[in-house]
């Protein structure tokens, strides 16, 4: 998947578990887990909420890397 993320790092920095992170961004624990594993790409709205909760820019949480052909 071309979208990489550092959500787990930021979550650990804030000292939050997945349940608490989910509560703050308005998503379920499962969705937080899916995003961290790279199995789900959040919508723009959710990505912005995550960045706001982490106190960083969206680009500091999510990175888009082109897949090699």
């Amino acid at each position: 998947m071309p979208l990489q993320n550092r959500l787990k790092e930021h979550r650990a920095r804030l000292g939050l578990n997945q349940q608490e992170m989910g509560r703050r961004i308005g998503a379920s624990r499962q969705t937080v887990s899916l995003i961290e594993r790279g199995d789900y790409s959040p919508s723009v709205t959710l990505a912005l909420k995550i960045a706001k909760v982490c106190g960083v820019r969206v680009e500091d949480v999510f990175q888009y890397e082109e897949e090699e052909p």
């Binding site: 997945q18 379920s28 887990s33 959040p42």
Partner: protein
């Protein structure tokens, strides 16, 4: 012809051969089924009646009780597995508890899938079993089988509801944002509304897969129904009901697609 039209023409050409082979295979399959149906048509009336009023009802009754048994045993096993997994994780750190919660999703999903699948199987079995009521030659046994199936269905529904309610409430305990009670008539709507974007995407993808499976099944059932009518085993109502389900699936999809088209979201 412009470049895009040329690409479209080449794409059609690529799959045309396989499509033709599939149509020829279907034609051959239809001929085989048709000849078998004519052979079945040649069966004597006594055999057909015995098959319809004895074999099918007994099979249906057996299916109902089997569903109840499987639901009871599998439900107990999956419940114990889920509860133990969460209890064992209480002494672990956050990461350990999260891993346990992820691990418990599989048995819970399996339990809920089993509830749905066994429910439709049990209802189908009961429907088959009541065909025994119509047997004039074996009235008592036909009624017994039918009554046994009805009782079996009630027992099954009690067991299924028990485990379904437990699973939903267990999920709600682990996920406080989830809403909906199994006793609600619009439980599915309330549940989906409490799901977030990722969960809804999963539900909608599964819904589309279900729609495609329903349409394909209707096509197969239509073929079998027509063969059954030719063989004298089924009445015209079978094809009618298959057609109704087929049309209902299509209309449901078309209505939803049209609604989304109006709201600006593409359905394709």
């Amino acid at each position: 012809m412009n470049q895009r039209q040329e690409e479209i023409r080449r794409e059609d050409q690529r799959y045309r051969g396989r499509f033709r082979r599939m149509m020829l295979l279907s034609l051959a399959g239809g001929l085989v089924l048709g000849l078998s149906a004519v052979k079945l048509w040649g069966l004597d009336e006594e055999s057909k009646v015995w098959f319809s009023t004895t074999v099918i009802p007994v099979l249906g009754c057996a299916v109902v009780w089997l569903c109840g048994g499987v639901q009871w045993i599998a439900g107990a096993v999956l419940r114990r597995k889920s509860v133990q997994s969460i209890e064992n994780a209480q002494t672990l750190d956050d990461e350990g508890r999260e891993a346990a919660q992820e691990a418990v999703e599989q048995p819970l999903n399996l339990l809920l899938s089993l509830c749905a699948l066994s429910c439709t199987s049990a209802f189908t079995g009961m429907g088959l079993a009541v065909a025994g009521f119509r047997s004039e030659e074996a009235v008592m046994s036909g009624v017994s089988v039918g009554v046994a199936a009805v009782v079996g269905l009630w027992v099954f529904l009690a067991v299924m509801l028990h485990y379904q309610r437990w699973a939903i409430n267990f999920i709600k305990e682990q996920n406080p944002e989830k809403r909906g009670s199994v006793y609600q008539t619009d439980f599915n709507k309330t549940w989906v509304e409490s799901c977030d974007e990722a969960e809804r995407a999963q539900i909608y993808r599964a819904g589309y897969a279900g729609y495609r499976a329903a349409v394909m099944t209707c096509l197969v059932l239509w073929v079998l129904s027509v063969m059954g009518i030719v063989a004298g085993l089924l009445s015209w109502t079978t094809v009618l009901f298959v057609g109704i389900i087929w049309i209902a699936s299509q209309v449901g999809y078309i209505k939803s697609a049209a609604k989304q088209g109006k709201s600006g979201t593409s359905a394709y």
